[in-house]
């Protein structure tokens, strides 16, 4: 079968604790699969605070889920044996969101690269290691001679992000989880990095989970897309179909709001939040208070995921006719897509 990573209905709540108290929902019942044999690029989009980073951290085992499980080759990642864990680290690599935090300020930036090379035994000799590192840096548009030997604070945010990408590349893992890897890079540079990501998939068969709030780049590099809203999947499916034919009102709003470099293609539609119509205490659609199409049912109940097409799903009552997915089926929507493409 070759399922590399499987995320099963994970939820994550913050706060609360033994004595109760208010908690924040970071992620709510999301499932997802990465297939080893069919590399794909999955983009996760959503507004700030929608749970994208939480999703990434759960997948990586950096945070543990409140409910649900994350499996690596069939084993819960919280229970990996030492050997399995080692393998996991090689297989799954990461680019964290905040490039200011991921460098040890004590060391020059070389440290993080050299450590990676050394720990995974990627190179036989020092020279080979240097070569490898330089190669990776060039690949993401950095000049090794003006990057290496510097302290992290001497580099711009964009440069730091790119070195992190380079680090992930070095390992040649099976999966890279990249949390907003290019948010601080200007447009020109952003383009070249994303190109690299795309090449990774095609040339090396590396799967990528690309997390961003920038829909244009998500569209450009992704195969499939998950749109998160307040920790829940609002819509998911093939990138092209999602972008060109958004089903969920939130996705539609997102797409409408993307500023295009064309003064004549103006923003359209209304963005003003409508007055909240949320029923007090009741479970309602998370988006109901901003939704232009909100119906009574949206206030009363939470919409399930409707499978509008074989490889599309959206959580909105406007598609009430479509079959309701069991929450776990989300991975089928996406996996199926990957299989279809790969096979």
């Amino acid at each position: 079968m070759g399922v590399l990573m499987e995320v099963r209905e994970v939820s994550k709540r913050f706060g609360g604790g033994v004595f109760g108290g208010r908690h924040v929902v970071g992620l709510d019942g999301v499932s997802f699969t990465v297939d080893e044999e069919h590399p794909s690029i999955t983009t996760v989009v959503g507004e700030s605070g929608s749970g994208k980073t939480t999703f990434a951290r759960l997948m990586l085992g950096v945070t543990s889920p409140t409910s649900g499980e994350v499996l690596y080759r069939g084993t819960d990642i919280a229970r990996l044996s030492k050997a399995q864990r080692k393998r996991f680290r090689r297989d799954v690599q990461v680019v964290f969101q905040d490039p200011y935090d991921v460098y040890n300020p004590f060391y020059k930036v070389d440290h993080v690269l050299k450590t990676t090379v050394a720990r995974f035994g990627l190179a036989r000799s020092g020279d080979a290691s240097d070569e490898l590192i330089e190669e990776a840096l060039t690949a993401i548009g950095l000049r090794p001679e003006s990057t290496l030997g510097r302290y992290p604070h001497q580099l711009s945010g964009g440069q730091r992000q790119r070195i992190m990408v380079a680090r992930a590349l070095l390992v040649r893992p099976a999966l890279i989880v990249a949390d907003e890897p290019v948010s601080m890079v200007d447009a020109s540079m952003r383009a070249s990095i994303l190109r690299t990501l795309r090449r990774l998939k095609t040339d090396f068969g590396i799967s990528v989970v690309y997390i961003t709030h920038d829909l244009t780049t998500a569209y450009q590099v992704g195969d499939q897309m998950i749109v998160l809203y307040k920790g829940m999947v609002a819509e998911a499916g093939n990138v092209d179909s999602v972008v060109h034919d958004p089903k969920h009102p939130y996705t539609q709003l997102l797409l409408r709001s993307v500023p295009l470099p064309d003064p004549d293609a103006g923003w359209s539609g209304d963005t003003k939040p409508t007055r909240p119509r949320r029923a007090p205490g009741g479970e309602s659609c998370a988006f109901v208070d901003r939704c232009g199409f909100a119906m009574d049912v949206c206030v009363e109940r939470m919409p399930p995921l409707y499978r509008t097409e074989p490889h599309r799903t959206a959580a909105c009552f406007r598609y009430e006719g479509a079959p309701v997915m069991a929450r776990g089926e989300l991975r089928d929507v996406l996996t199926a897509r990957a299989e279809a493409e790969g096979g």
Partner: protein
């Protein structure tokens, strides 16, 4: 950079010169550190060079005529017990420093280990450490000193004092280092290191520790100065290292013998001045090291 391990021998002097030049240049940017180091070196030098120019046996009681004002033969005068004060200070200053350094090192060392373990491991251990530290902070130093001094057989030596002070000095560092580790533990680079295959010990030693080195260094100097301060305090209560003329014991004797009232100013002005100088030196080094500890101010190349 050349990867060759050791530079040829003839290169050494040049490297040393270069390092010195570097250091001197650095000190120009960090005058506090320079001033502090100069003061400390001067004090250390006084202990070393002093031995050459004065008969250290005169530091024992009843060695010279008591109660002499400073003169050419006794540059710092003599005290009421017949010690040559210069000789006594030459002997005593290194001992005072010893108290500071031993207590500082032990206190900070224990504190750092406790802080690191408690902060990084967390959980129950951390809770225990926290309660223990909070509780022990309330114990009066005097009580510990009296307890320890009564329990050991020998004299209250410099090392006993250092031990007593250290037994109280580790809690502060443990607390602050724990807090530092807690913030560092959540840092992205710790996660990154893990994803680069580095284990727990590796993370502590190679990722966390180096970042705290500057902090530890400045804490160390601060710990030394706190230790000397504590030793001054204990000595003021008559519980110093009683058989050796540490600088703070000289002060104690000055008080004991009423030097303030009797006008034997040299008896307390010189030790007082040296303690003052020592504290100023430590203070300057601390504030200088604070600059070093802040990696943003540290300049590469």
């Amino acid at each position: 950079m050349a990867r060759s391990a050791i530079a040829p021998v003839e290169m050494w002097p040049r490297q040393i010169i270069r390092a010195t030049v570097h250091f001197v240049r650095y000190c120009r940017r960090n005058p506090a550190l320079a001033v502090g180091l100069v003061i400390l070196l001067f004090l250390a030098g006084l202990g070393l060079v002093g031995r050459l120019i004065v008969n250290v046996d005169d530091s024992a009681p009843a060695s010279v005529t008591p109660n002499l004002a400073p003169s050419l033969t006794h540059p710092f005068g003599t005290d009421g017990q017949g010690r040559d004060l210069f000789a006594a200070l030459v002997i005593g200053l290194p001992l005072t420093l010893q108290v500071g350094f031993v207590a500082g090192a032990i206190g900070l060392g224990v504190g750092a280990v406790v802080g690191f373990v408690s902060g990084y491991v967390g959980g129950v251990l951390d809770a225990i450490v926290r309660v223990a530290v909070d509780s022990l902070l309330t114990v009066p130093a005097l009580l510990i000193l009296v307890t320890i001094a009564s329990s050991i057989k020998g004299f209250i030596s410099v090392n006993v004092i250092a031990l007593v002070i250290a037994s109280l000095a580790w809690m502060g560092p443990a607390r602050t280092i724990r807090a530092q580790v807690l913030t560092l533990r959540g840092r992205g680079y710790v996660d990154i290191a893990r994803f680069s295959g580095v284990g727990t010990v590796g993370v502590i030693c190679r990722e966390l520790l180096p970042n705290l080195l500057g902090y530890l260094a400045s804490s160390f100097v601060a710990a030394v100065s706190t230790a000397v301060l504590a030793s001054v305090g204990l000595s003021a209560l008559g519980l110093g290292p009683q058989n050796v003329p540490t600088v703070e014991m000289m002060l104690y004797w000055a008080i004991f013998y009423g030097a303030l009232a009797s006008g034997a100013w040299w008896w307390w002005v010189f030790p007082g001045g040296l303690v003052l100088l020592l504290f100023l030196g430590l203070y300057f080094v601390t504030s200088g090291l604070d600059e070093v500890a802040n990696p943003r101010r540290r300049l590469g190349t």
